[in-house]
Symmetry: C2
Subunit: 585 residues, 2 copies
């Protein structure tokens, strides 16, 4: 059989400057910080925001949270809080060491700790102020499918628990080790398996190892003129295997699809053997490919080692845009009309007034002309056009495609915007909005350092219930905050972040100042659960893309019938009877 | 929680004229037949082709198959060949009768026979010329989810085998009862559960019972201004439950998606209980909804009773088109460029020269101006444009959408066609092509009556392998035909019937004159298997949308690893340990 000519790219470039923090989000060279003047800045030089001073942020945060937030008012971190002793399994470790190089096996406590948590507020609190009760006892970094197979076989033989690890960015406690797990827990860190194995330009497919993160994939594919189009907010760190395991969604799904649309075939090592396909058909009817059951399996069923994905040539044109509307209902009607018109940009996000303010507060100090221009814009928008600063909302847009496609989309979208009296905010503001996404991920840890607990959570909700759901959630959180006599005011903000024919994805930010609050992290968790109850009651889903992990397990009976839950357990018992993949998600 | 305002439509209209044949495909009032003059015609008045005389067809078929095919040269049908005696289960039947009306329970042999087969050539042969060794012992027609639940509970209690039934149109032997099944087999005919329960215009969803067929769904939705957009060739008879069970694909998937894109939520009765969801989110990450495992499950795991689907407003504009190209490679390059341009019509199908001839041979006798016009067209195409009648191919097009969308698509597609020196064949030829699809389904039985065995089979194949695969399959079938010394010449024809970013769906027709051939149906099956081997070897998939059933089970180890097959069996054993759903697909 003649094969299409394939490209076999060089591996991704490993830059030592890309090392990551162990105790907070992101790259070691980046993060929010305070200047000697007590103003917020961002370290390093990776992001547009890096090196800028943002003088409005702390004052805005103080006012919004109605709380002190002084520069010197910090919650000192005790990272790392006590790390549990290793549970050894000598027989396993001996055979393991015989098959791998020493550098592939790690038992350093901080590395083990890092592999035992993701980025939920509870976990980030625990590693600084609380306690993590169980962490992996060993971290292993395989470099090939054969090594993964060997590790799984050893784990079965020696009764070891395996937990696959990618970027460690999940926000569902998916990596949290079950407290009562007595077996040796081994974290299988897939990140050395990060190659794009081949690109097939004629058939627009590529085969990529599961430990490649979004940044590496983007770099290698772009070098060759392609893109996978999957860009979750975590993409700098999250991996292809993690995307499959969490059923991930990316910013540009309107153009490229979600992970289930992008991934055509999955190869995995399981305790029953390999799930492997030679081919990855565009579409098939074969009674169900079991490898698809790995989507959303959150590490319970096996380890994904590689996947065949769709790739697209890099778009000819990429343009940003933004539009301002008078209020959320109007903005919502706008995105509704865009969806109905069927001409949807690669990304379209509608943020509420609070998030708009948040974005404005993160604007860097401007000098000279820039100051003047910014003031003039503000004047125009608020005085001339009559928008109220406490009601206006913003919608950011990203168009990708051929010149003609993008032009047609822009025309259609801005025409609809005009019907809703939207004011074009320009490409720069749109681009800022998207660039901010990656920087915002760092802000939670900065805020936690200043006594503010914050988290994001999301849902899919039908069109008809969206606005009411947002209102209900905000109202509920304010009520719960007041009921507990928590300090200051809560910050509850929403944005519509994805559009579908039958509904939208809504992303919430929720924060409150927690100094003096007893068991602050647990209190936060209670409020988050209350918000989720409200979401479910208002017609929203349990999760659009973050997943369930352990964080939302208690809600599963609310959405699944007993038979459905039994089916899931039945599958797990059938394919992994010894619970080798014992993350208990 | 406030619900969006829902429409609750009246049930579909049941027209007694819509009764179906029991022994051949389709409506009782329709089918190919011969005029007293020995020319081919089509009975009834349902289709554009109905009532027309097609004088070119038999001569063309004789020449192409190099076989007699005389009007009086028929293979008399012995339908029904002996129908096995009933296997009774008195305890089950007594309790069943207590809960249902008498008309919901049927034991007539011909009805049981019909429920024990689909439309593979082997099954259609067996009911006329051979023998069906096992058929359902009872046919039950529930009218509600509660009745389905009761039937399943009874089946478990009394050890009865249940096989769900929809349109009975599968082409994989999915309905063929396992020969050695000793339990009483009950066919659960879902077609009384055919209502559209509600339409939600604001959220663009609808809830439809699983026994509704495509025609009923289209009628009810269209009455209310909507469409589901799923239009498989079998849609006049096939049901929503069947579509889920076979992982179906429809003609207009480019615009509306395949069944997995259209169906948002599935409710099913299983031997473990109900899989039911209150809500059907646009998209979610919840660790895997087990109801999705029913897609492609071909009746092995449970009975789908209803589904929440996406619906779209009826398109403003629907336009047909057609283009003629000099040869298959040129036509293929054309569809390739259309896919790459990203502006793909709702349907685009490229047929090879033989299928083009086939379509021409089915043209009705024309009179007067129409004759003159047709001759002129032919002259223009063949002499003026220099196309060869034995190489030219045709591509049919269907555009749907707003006026602007359709105009843009037409512009883009015809521009690409011109680049490949395509000649526009006009809307009428395009429309004929699509209308013929539904009539063509009747031709196999007519041909079988005249000693010609025929079948269709399909695959998904990467772009790079498509043309070679088509050639390899044709070559292999000619070889196998010659090797066995079969009469005349084989008819092997292909069309590219769906486009994807990474490949296409190819549909084959294969026929040969079989008078005098011993065990003709088995010989045909051997050749079909040889074709499938060739398809797999050439990079094609086991099936794009027909499924596996029993017909292609032997090929499963060629595409699935042992672990994958074990996972599938493991799931079945876990969720249906008593094999209540014992169709053995």
């Amino acid at each position: 059989m003649s094969q299409a000519k394939r490209i076999e790219p060089d591996p991704p470039i490993r830059d030592p400057r890309d090392s990551e923090h162990l105790d907070v989000w992101g790259f070691a060279d980046s993060g929010f910080a305070l200047t000697p003047n007590g103003e917020v800045t961002f370290t390093g030089d990776r992001y547009p925001i890096s090196g800028k001073v943002m003088p409005d942020f702390l004052p805005w945060a103080r006012e919004t949270l109605d709380s002190p937030l002084a520069a010197d008012d910090v919650h000192e971190s005790h990272y790392p809080t006590p790390i549990p002793e290793r549970v050894a399994n000598a027989a396993f470790e001996t055979e393991l060491a015989a098959g791998l190089r020493a550098e592939q096996i790690e038992s350093d406590p901080r590395v083990r700790l890092r592999h035992g948590h993701g980025h939920t507020q509870e976990e980030m609190w625990a590693i600084k102020y609380g306690r993590v009760t169980r962490v992996p006892d060993l971290v292993v970094s395989p470099e090939s499918d054969a090594q993964v197979r060997a590790i799984v076989a050893l784990a079965q033989r020696h009764r070891v628990c395996l937990i696959p690890y990618g970027g460690g960015t999940n926000v569902t406690e998916a990596l949290r080790c079950p407290r009562d797990e007595r077996r040796c827990i081994v974290s299988v860190d897939m990140r050395r398996m990060n190659r794009v194995l081949w690109i097939d330009p004629e058939n627009r497919t590529a085969c990529i190892e599961a430990g490649a993160n979004g940044r590496e994939i983007a770099e290698v594919l772009a070098r060759n003129g392609y893109t996978i189009g999957h860009e979750p907010d975590s993409y700098e760190f999250s991996t292809l295997g993690g995307w499959v395991a969490t059923h991930a969604s990316g910013m540009k799904k309107n153009r490229y699809g979600n992970i289930e649309d992008i991934v055509l075939g999955v190869t995995a090592v399981t305790s029953s053997g390999d799930l492997a396909r030679d081919a990855a058909p565009a579409r098939e009817s074969v009674g169900g490919d079991p490898a698809r059951w790995l989507f959303g399996s959150e590490g319970r069923l096996g380890i994904v080692t590689r996947a065949v994905v769709k790739v697209r040539p890099l778009p000819e044109v990429q343009k940003h845009g933004s539009v301002i509307f008078s209020d959320l209902e109007t903005g919502f009607a706008f995105v509704r009309d865009v969806q109905r018109a069927g001409i949807v940009p690669a990304s379209i996000r509608l943020m509420d007034n609070l998030q708009f303010q948040f974005g404005q507060a993160l604007k860097p100090r401007k000098q000279g002309f820039a100051v003047w221009k910014s003031r003039l814009e503000k004047f125009f928008v608020t005085r001339v056009k009559g928008l109220a600063v406490d009601r206006m909302v913003a919608c950011t847009l990203l168009f990708e495609g051929t010149r003609a496609e993008v032009a047609a989309q822009e025309r259609a979208v801005y025409r609809i915007a005009a019907r809703h009296r939207g004011i074009k905010g320009g490409a720069e503001n749109g681009q800022r909005g998207y660039a901010l996404t990656f920087a915002i991920a760092y802000i939670r840890d900065f805020m936690m350092h200043h006594h503010v607990l914050a988290e994001s959570f999301e849902t899919a909700v039908p069109w008809s219930q969206c606005v009411a759901m947002i209102q209900n959630v905000k109202q509920r959180l304010w009520q719960e905050h007041a009921k507990r006599g928590l300090p200051g005011k809560p910050f509850v903000s929403a944005r519509v972040t994805q559009l579908y024919e039958t509904g939208v994805c809504v992303y919430f930010y929720f924060a409150f100042y927690a100094r003096g609050v007893e068991h602050a992290s647990e209190v936060y968790a209670e409020l988050e659960r209350a918000a989720r109850e409200e979401i479910l009651r208002s017609g929203g889903s349990l999760s659009h893309h973050h997943g369930v992990g352990k964080l939302r397990q208690r809600f599963l009976p609310a959405i699944f019938s007993p038979a459905a839950l039994a089916w899931r357990e039945g599958l797990k018992r059938a394919v992994d009877p010894d619970d080798v993949f014992g993350c208990a998600n």
